[in-house]
């Protein structure tokens, strides 16, 4: 096969063309068409592997279309469309190019049939996403992104090394189901985990996402982590270990999200929490669970984008996303408020909203596989989601304390795309079977059973009640200007410090050594000079007698030798 | 130096005998102690005596420097030439065997010739060396001594 076609090429080609389109609107329009073209390119294709490329010793499969990759391709296309549309007003070519490349790389990774290709696009998403954040061009963003970038590259490196070891163990680089039975697969697993923001590896997310431009954040939220979910689903479905990781992932951000001041960080934590559900689904690994994961990923991309967009719209108007600075915007940005609430309801898995139809799948799969404690944890986590994402975000932005903002409604293009996303949320919530039909495994599942709905509603109401009480008694820990440090101090403070200290000591030792060596050499030279210099003993003109002394010494030694 | 009349007379008388003795030593070298070198030295001593008594300038007048160098060269070349002659006679260098009708006589001839060369060279060389020293103006006056 010499046919190297793959959908991501469309994005790359577009990225190459975009900078040269001078007219801003034309450019934006052109970009908007790209996701459609991208989707169209593979939508009608039959499942199978298309582009082979002989490289080194192996045959790369750079375009593999099957159920899993198809749906993720679709997800990413939608995400690309949403984020591009939301960025309609953006004129920065760098941001535009990098978002295209980013989306393209993510799609490329999804269709990668082998680990090498995966790695290439994996790193591609890292570089492109970093550029996207750098494009904000603030000193803070630069520093943050250096960390983010390093983290992403580290993930890529782990993947790379894992691939190498895996290749050496198995002789294959095919991207298929793997067992955690060797260093190589563990490294690959870890690499995925990094990107997926496993607990203790998650902080890059909270660190970087809020640092990007408002539009950039929307883009970021869609691809990187979902790509990791895809990779885990592809490679490590049914790995029991993942269930516990997922459970922990879904639980711990709840508390951080509750105390977090920056709304984008709140959303980032919530992202974490949502990913936890998916990871659990992957860990269970039954078709139902995997479908749940995929479905969740699908809907999550949309509602999380919706939430980020609403926050982004607020930032666009107010310039801040801090709980302590916001409140009472409902009067001025009603549409935004409305879409935000739709997003909140979705993420909280309110029945008739998209979150419900997806999360139920996972919860059911968890329950049916007998992981009762995990199920409990997920339920508690759901409560937490409602707490921070479902209520805190809309409440703190649009209600709560009125901080005296007098702003305009978000611009129309933003509202349009938010509306589009909100509509999707509702549509999916109402007609779940459409979504289910797209899932890789055929499922017979009906979310709207009384049992499901009632359980969910009870839970939601109790959560809402709790939030109300907490607010009422001023116990809810909000509105403090604070940056919460959790594990991220390790890389924010600890690792840079370690690096700084190591650098310092290495350079100091180095310098001391160099100076020591220099001084030694200098001193040795002095000694040599004293003896050999123009006036040194060895270079002086000696009276004739002294040479006879040497003769005598020589003869003396000879004499000694003769005696011996 | 000029007022030592007795010295000058004695020296004048002695000189021929010294030179004669030198010649004796030169030619008698085959049979007794002595030979070209000793003869040359004695010959030179004769000249030196002359110089001591009559002054170096007188000696230089008698035998100019060029003559001395020439004589040195003649002596050396006489020696070396003898060897070259034997080369031309088809023999190895300094092989005197064919200088006369039979090898033994040839040897005698050869020895005589080379001894003569040595004598001339040595006499001239020694005189030349002495002349070189003696004609050098003293750097220091007699009072400094």
């Amino acid at each position: 096969m010499t046919d190297y076609f793959m959908p991501s090429l469309i994005y790359f080609a577009a990225a190459a063309i975009v900078p040269f389109i001078a007219a801003p609107r034309l450019r934006a329009t052109f970009m908007l068409a790209v996701p459609f073209a991208g989707f169209a390119s593979f939508a009608t294709m039959a499942y199978g592997t298309y582009a082979f490329m002989p490289f080194f010793d192996f045959n790369l499969k750079i375009f593999r279309l099957d159920g899993l990759s198809f749906i993720f391709g679709l997800i990413f296309s939608i995400a690309a469309f949403i984020s591009i549309a939301f960025a309609w007003h953006i004129r920065d070519r760098l941001e535009q190019v990098s978002s295209l490349v980013y989306a393209g790389a993510a799609i490329g990774a999804v269709f990668a049939g082998d680990l090498i290709t995966l790695f290439v696009f994996w790193e591609g998403t890292a570089i492109a996403s970093a550029l996207l954040i750098w494009a904000r061009r603030t000193p803070g963003a630069i520093a943050t992104t250096m960390r983010y970038f390093t983290f992403q590259i580290a993930s890529g490196l782990l993947l790379f090394i894992g691939i190498v070891l895996f290749y050496r163990d198995t002789g294959s680089v095919a991207f298929q189901h793997m067992e955690l039975d060797s260093l190589g697969t563990w490294l690959i697993f870890l690499a995925f985990g990094f990107k997926c923001a496993f607990p203790l590896m998650h902080n890059w997310l909270q660190d970087a996402y809020p640092a990007a431009t408002p539009t950039g954040t929307v883009t970021l939220s869609a691809f990187t982590t979902k790509l990791a979910i895809y990779a885990l689903a592809r490679g490590f479905a049914g790995t029991e270990f993942l269930i516990y990781i997922g459970a922990a992932m879904s639980l711990f951000p709840v508390f951080f999200a509750a105390i977090e001041n920056n709304l984008r960080r709140v959303l980032a934590y919530s992202l974490n929490n949502q990913l936890g559900f998916m990871v659990v689904g992957i860990g269970i690994g039954t078709p139902l669970a995997l479908d749940g994961t995929v479905a969740h990923a699908f809907v999550h991309v949309i509602y999380k984008a919706l939430l980020f967009m609403s926050v982004g719209a607020v930032i666009y108007r107010t310039g801040t996303a801090k709980v302590s600075d916001l409140g009472g915007l409902w009067k001025y940005m009603p549409w935004t408020m409305a879409f935000c609430i739709v997003g909140s309801l979705s993420i909280s898995a309110f029945p008739l909203f998209s979150g419900f139809v997806a999360k139920s799948l996972i919860l059911s799969a968890t329950a049916s596989s007998g992981h009762i404690w995990v199920w409990m944890a997920l339920v508690v986590a759901s409560v937490g989601v409602l707490e921070h994402a479902g209520i805190k975000i809309p409440y703190s932005m649009f209600f709560g304390h009125d901080r005296g903002w007098k702003v305009k409604e978000a611009p129309l293009p933003m509202l349009l795309i938010m509306g589009f996303a909100a509509t999707l949320c509702v549509l999916i919530g109402v007609f779940p079977q459409t979504l289910y039909a797209l899932l890789p495994y055929p499922v017979e599942y009906e979310p709207y059973t009384a049992d499901h709905v009632i359980t969910q509603l009870q839970m939601l109401f109790f959560a809402a009640l709790a939030f109300a009480l907490l607010i009422r008694f001023n116990i809810y820990p909000a509105e403090y200007r604070s940056i919460n440090l959790d594990f991220d101090w390790v890389y924010r403070r600890f690792l840079p410090n370690v690096l700084r200290v190591v650098t310092h000591y290495v350079t100091v030792i180095w310098r001391v050594y160099a100076r020591f060596a220099d001084r030694r050499i200098e001193r040795a030279l002095m000694v040599i000079y004293r003896a050999h210099g123009p006036q040194g003993a060895l270079a002086r003109t000696w009276p004739t007698g002294s040479m006879v002394l040497w003769i005598a010494i020589l003869l003396g030694i000879t004499l000694g030798l003769a005696y011996l | 130096m000029h007022h030592h009349l007795i010295l000058r007379v004695v020296a004048k008388l002695l000189l021929p005998f010294i030179l004669l003795y030198a010649l004796y030593v030169q030619w008698h070298g085959d049979y007794g102690p002595g030979g070209g070198f000793q003869a040359g030295v004695i010959f030179a001593v004769g000249f030196i005596l002359y110089a001591l008594v009559y002054g170096v300038d007188a000696l230089v007048r008698v035998v100019p420097r060029g003559v001395l160098v020439g004589a040195m060269a003649v002596g050396l070349l006489l020696y070396a030439g003898t060897g070259v002659v034997s080369l031309f006679l088809g023999l190895d260098y300094l092989d005197y065997s064919r200088l006369a009708h039979d090898p033994v006589h040839g040897q005698e001839w050869g020895i005589l010739l080379v001894e003569l060369g040595v004598g001339i060279a040595v006499a001239a060389a020694m005189t030349a060396i002495f002349v070189a020293f003696a004609t050098r103006e003293p750097d220091i006056d007699d009072e400094d001594w």
């Binding site: 003869l555 004499l559 | 030979g35 030295v41 001593v45 040195m72 300094l94 033994v104």
Partner: protein, 189 residues
Amino acid sequence: MGIILVDLMLFGFLVLTALAIMRLTNLFAVTMLAGLFSLLAAGLFVTMDAVDVAFTEAAVGAGISTVLMLSALALTARNEKPFVIVSRRMAVPLICCLVTGAALIYGTLDMPAFGDPDAPVHTHVGGEYITRVIPDTGVPNIVTAVLASYRGYDTLGETTVIFVAAIAVLLLIGFPRSATRRRDEDGSE
């Protein structure tokens, strides 16, 4: 036995002369003593049957070299700088000489005895000259025969040496020094 006594006496005088040369600072006296040393050496050579050598040594050592030395002294200095006895300056050369002497004496220990007719010196080439000199050359003075014929080439070298010495001396001091001196002293002192 008598020879030994004469030998010893000569050696004694030689040593004394040498020591005197060492001690004296008047260079004229030193020159004279050096001549005396040569004369004594010539005497020693005679006792050891080396008449030709003795003759030469007398002529050269006591004659020419004294004359040259004196002429040189006339151009340089009469006295040696008073010799300061500093033990270190004395000791080092002394040790040098002792070591060198010791080495030499060590070397003599395996030598054939003095005058031993069976020494290799006499049995090999030396003896051969004595037997064949008359038939080969007809010259009774073996020394002359060896000098001019058997080892005539050495003597050519010897003549060349003296020639070279004369050339060298002429090169160094053979010409009036006025010109030379001016140049020597240019820019110095």
